[in-house]
């Protein structure tokens, strides 16, 4: 093995320029993949987190059927008690109770329809980023305060400023008219067009009184420590509601339909693109491997004449091409990791990205941070290694059929 | 008049203790129409001297004049021009362009010179006939024998009507009959066209055809013999 390795390494440097160019091609594609895949997955993480953290949360406990038909009478009882029990277990980052209904908001001569949400001011910040996104005024003060915060576009359409009053008109749970007047204490800007245009939040108790809900609510929203722990989260929640058949657990994939499929499409198309790119690189370096065999046919003839087995020569050549591939991969992984590290520290920004993200209701996607998982770093290099090994070994297989005299005659 | 003049030409390869002095203070004058043969053992400086005169290599010091021009002072492009118009080359082997036919090889230099198609064709036909290759014009080098290849090379060197033809071991890859034929051809061209020949060799046959024989040893001319 020692001598073979030595020979292979020496051979590699017989044609320095070609070796460097080939290693460079491999390194180039490796850099691209090592930097690309973590960024791609990082972007998905940010997309998922941004869409979930702004309001829907990682999972919700609802009445069965509420997700499809979010009607005010599809409420759940003892929601606050259940939420308290969940908070006691300490394994969730946030648990909050909400009630939701549709209402017409009016100010002066303006009226707009909006989604009005009753929230627990104390806990809502753990499951939604809206309390932290108040651009003017302040967040709701207590669970029974008579006040409202509204989205920035809605405020503009209603010509409302902090301190103005807004009239709310909707239908209560019992069919009665829900009407109230609240002062606007805060205006939020989430970066999601839908939320900023159609959302208003009031304290839970105030909601329950206005909409004749009694003590009931519609959802318990839960945010886990990480969105990756979705299966464990669903298991734990299903455990917690065992014995109650009036509620179900709904995961984020159903709460935000399309997000997961959208990511899936993007992943598939992204991988197809990278796959073809690898194919271009592979064909681009195939010539190196082809020539390194062809130009040495005479030398192989000599080795055969000296009594070396064809298998041994083929093995030598395979070792040589593997060393070359590994050289390229090492350089590529090194530089690629540096790029990923830089993106990890600085964030990857692209001009126009934030504007676009807003249009797709993906708040906060101004900078992409890579997802630092070992598999993301290795998946690209592994594919490149397999692809280059296949093309490198095709010409080598010819060596096995080589006849010494014939080979030595080749120029 | 002189076609080639060398004054105190030195050529050193490498530096310091490893330096090899290929030529040491060589002075030489070659008259127009001469047929000069350089002989000497391997490493005596024959090829180096030939390459210097052909502008393929530069002297470390000294002056070289070809056709009244100081070629040691010229740029690469100027040297290319001198070779194109004033000097023809014949090498020992493999000196034809493999992808071109015999005729195309001969016309190559004329094409570089920008000679019109008609004239080119006329000249290449004549020259190939003169070197005895009539009927083989459209063969590629690999389809010709060694002697025939060398004749194509001679035709090519000749066709641009150079004042000087340099030949490096022209017979090295030929059998004795072919070598004799080639030397007769070169002598005949020297007689008829007054072209100056400078030939390096260690082939006795070639030396016997020379009008002037130079013997080199360790980069110095040790003998200068006029023959016939």
């Amino acid at each position: 093995m020692g001598i073979t390795f030595h020979l292979a390494w020496r051979n590699l440097w017989r044609n320095r320029r070609r070796t460097w160019l080939t290693a460079g091609a491999i390194a180039f594609s490796t850099i691209l993949l090592v930097a690309w895949v973590p960024l791609q997955f990082g972007a998905y993480d940010i997309m998922i987190n941004a869409s979930l953290n702004v309001f829907p949360g990682h999972a919700q406990i609802q009445r069965p059927g509420y997700q499809d038909k979010p009607k005010i009478r599809n409420s759940i009882n003892n929601a606050e008690a259940l939420a308290k029990q969940l908070r006691g277990s300490d394994q969730y980052q946030g648990v909050s109770v909400r009630a939701q209904g549709f209402a017409l908001l009016s100010s002066g001569s303006r009226s707009y329809g909006a989604q009005v949400v009753g929230v627990e001011p104390e806990f809502e910040g753990n499951t939604s980023s809206i309390p932290g996104l108040i651009k003017q005024g302040r967040w709701l003060s207590s669970i029974d305060a008579q006040e409202i915060v509204i989205g920035s576009t809605l405020a503009r359409n209603l010509k409302l400023e902090v301190g103005d009053e807004v009239t709310l008109l909707g239908g209560g749970k019992d069919g009665s008219v829900a009407a109230a007047i609240f002062p606007v204490v805060g205006i939020f800007k989430s970066g999601s067009n839908d939320l900023d245009r159609f959302f208003a939040e009031i304290p839970l108790r105030t909601f329950q009184n206005t909409f004749s809900m009694g003590a009931s609510a519609h959802t318990i929203t839960i945010v886990a420590k990480s969105v990756e722990e979705q299966p464990q989260l669903l298991d734990a929640l299903n455990d917690a509601i065992k014995g109650r058949n009036d509620v179900v657990v709904v995961g984020w994939e159903q709460l935000v339909p399309g997000l997961k499929e959208g990511i899936q499409i993007d992943k598939v198309s992204g991988f197809i693109f990278l796959g073809i790119l690898i194919a271009v690189v592979v064909f681009s370096i195939l010539n190196t491997f082809l020539m390194s065999v062809l130009e040495r046919i005479r030398e192989f003839g000599l080795m055969l004449a000296l009594g070396l087995k064809p298998r041994r020569i083929a093995g030598l050549m395979m070792l040589e091409s593997t060393l070359l591939t590994l050289l390229g991969l090492t350089i590529g992984i090194f530089i690629g990791s540096l790029l990923v590290y830089w993106a990890h520290v600085e964030g990857f920004a692209y001009p126009g990205l934030e504007d676009l993200a807003e249009q797709y209701n993906l708040p906060g996607l101004s900078r992409i941070y890579p997802q630092l998982k070992l598999i993301n770093f290795l998946i690209g290099p592994i594919f490149i290694f397999i692809a280059t090994s296949i093309v490198a070994w095709i010409p080598i297989l010819r060596i096995r059929k080589l006849e010494p005299v014939e080979a030595m005659r080749t120029i | 008049m002189s076609t080639v003049t060398l004054k105190k030409v030195c050529k050193t390869f490498g530096e310091g203790e490893l330096a090899v002095h290929a030529l040491k203070d060589v002075d030489l004058e070659i008259k127009a129409g001469g047929f000069l043969c350089l002989s000497g053992p391997s490493g005596s400086g024959k090829s180096t001297l030939l390459n210097m005169v052909g502008g393929l290599d530069r002297p470390t010091s000294g002056e070289i004049t070809v056709a009244d021009k100081r070629i040691d002072l010229m740029s690469k492009s100027e040297l290319a021009e001198i070779r194109l118009h004033n000097i023809g080359f014949i090498f020992q082997a493999y000196n034809l362009i493999p992808v071109l036919t015999a005729r195309e090889n001969v016309e190559f230099v004329m094409q570089l010179q920008g000679i019109p198609t008609e004239e080119r064709h006329q000249k290449s036909t004549n020259i190939l006939r003169e070197v005895g290759l009539e009927g083989l014009e459209d063969r590629k080098p690999l389809e010709l024998s060694g002697g025939q290849q060398q004749r194509v090379a001679v035709a090519r060197a000749l066709v641009s009507e150079p004042a000087l033809i340099l030949a490096d071991e022209p017979t090295a890859n030929l059998d004795s009959t072919n070598a004799e034929n080639l030397m007769n051809l070169l002598r005949h061209l020297n007689d008829d066209h007054k072209i100056t020949f400078l030939i390096s060799t260690h082939d006795k046959l070639v030396m016997s055809h020379a009008r002037r024989l130079l013997k080199l040893h360790d980069g110095q001319i040790i003998d200068d013999i006029q023959q016939r």
């Binding site: 009226s111 399309g258 676009l356 | -």
Partner: protein, 429 residues
């Protein structure tokens, strides 16, 4: 043949060298072409790499342009049009007091000019729609049904029931998914509430006569349609909210917008690029991204191209030395290698373009059906049939870029070849 005749000498001027270069081009081309086929296998491999790369550039460009074009068309068809005329404050605050008068004679004259394919007036104001069970906030749009044909999606046939027939039609057409949300259906009545001209809340019951379908859920749940006059009657207004129009060419709309503005200077006339600035940003982002993407693919090809040319030049060291000995200038050797590269590039590009054309116009002529991913596509505002589209501009960009950068890449092996010292080149075996 007289050896004493002086021959034209070296370095007689740049013009001469240029002249010579032109004269020797056929020779250099013949040499390049024959050299390519000395090692056919190697040539085929690099040709395949170039072809694959160019094909990939063209197909990915076709895909991206197809997606973007679809989005732009959907956006234009989604009640935007190529240009709109409004009360100057309507865009910022789409309220009833920001309505505009019916188009004046002057404005009509411009709107009826030949380059406008279709135009229509609309009432478009926020409202609340209520079924027996649910309420939603929507935009109530009063339309001139016949004039919407070819202008927006509501001019297309509906999926259930009937379309609106006249400006007096007092039926209402809502989105398919809106009907689901409201738990209602064709034939049922819904109540529409909106603020009228006097600031009072006006309401009235409508019978649902048709359901329309749109690519995006947001569209289907965002708009309800009735006749223009019916909407005006409900809101006690004689004005309209907007005029929308489309022309033959959306990219050459500036002069029309200028003339419309001139006809009614007190109104705001805006082209689609001003109405949807985010779409324009998206177009720019995609354009930049595509250039980067082309460069990445090119770089992948370039390594192979440089390496192949280097090998080819290295193999011919002796020959190149011979060229130099025969009096070929170094610059001609550079040109020879570049011609050889150019031939490779031209063949590869031709094949790549053909393959790209075949993929886009033959294999995927009808687009790719992605209906099974519809929900995911909805999140990216994409249509469920992905169609490819190519624009001459992008094909030209790709081809010119590959040739220019390819030749640039060949300079390295070419310079290497030109720097061979003839003597070393010849003596090397």
């Amino acid at each position: 043949m007289d050896p004493n005749i002086a021959h034209p000498q070296a370095g007689t001027g740049g013009g001469d060298a240029y002249h010579m270069m032109i004269k020797t081009l056929p020779l250099l081309s013949a040499l390049g072409w024959r050299n390519l086929w000395r090692r056919p296998k190697r040539t085929f491999v690099i040709l395949f790499a170039i072809t694959l790369g160019v094909w990939f550039m063209i197909v990915s460009a076709g895909m991206m342009i197809g997606i973007i074009e679809q989005q732009v068309r959907d956006m234009i068809f989604n009640l935007t049009g190529h240009a709109q005329v409004h009360h100057p404050d309507y865009r910022d605050d789409p309220a009833i007091e920001h309505s505009m008068l019916l188009p004046s004679k002057k404005l009509q004259a411009v709107l009826n000019s030949a380059e406008v394919k279709q135009w229509s007036s609309r009432v478009r104001l926020p409202a609340v729609v209520m079924s027996e069970r649910e309420s939603r906030g929507v935009m109530l749009v009063g339309i001139e049904p016949l004039r919407e044909q070819g202008l927006s999606f509501i001019g297309e046939p509906v999926v259930a029931g009937r379309a609106l027939q006249s400006i007096d039609d007092n039926g209402i057409v809502i989105g398919r998914r809106m009907a689901e949300k409201l738990e209602t259906q064709i034939g049922k009545r819904i109540v529409v509430m909106a603020q009228d001209k006097h600031g009072e809340v006006a309401d009235r019951g409508f019978r649902i006569v048709g359901l329309y379908q749109a690519e995006l859920e947001a569209t289907e749940t965002g708009y309800i349609f009735t006749g223009l006059s019916t909407a005006q009657k409900l809101l006690g207004m004689s004005e309209i909210s907007e005029i929308s129009l489309i022309t033959e060419n959306r990219d050459e709309i500036d002069s029309l917008v200028a003339r419309l503005s001139a006809a009614e200077p007190q109104l705001a006339t805006q082209s689609w690029t001003e109405l949807e600035p985010l779409m324009v940003t998206a177009l720019e982002v995609y354009d930049n991204f595509m250039i980067i993407w082309y460069l990445i693919i090119f770089a992948a090809m370039a390594f192979g191209l440089i390496n192949t040319m280097l090998m080819s030049v290295f193999e011919r060291t002796r020959e190149i030395g011979l060229f130099q000995a025969l009096g070929m200038r170094p610059s001609f050797i550079v040109i020879q290698v570049m011609i050889e590269t150019l031939m490779l590039l031209l063949i590869g590009i031709t094949l790549g373009n053909l393959a790209g054309w075949f993929t886009i116009d033959v294999i995927f002529a009808d687009g790719i059906d992605l209906t099974q991913f519809a929900r995911g596509l909805d999140a990216f505002q994409m249509s469920s049939i992905m169609t490819f589209q190519l624009e001459a501009r992008d094909i030209v960009t790709i081809n010119i870029m590959v040739i220019a950068l390819g030749l640039l890449a060949s300079l390295y092996p070419a310079a290497k070849a030109a720097r061979y010292i003839p003597i070393e080149a010849i003596t090397r075996t």
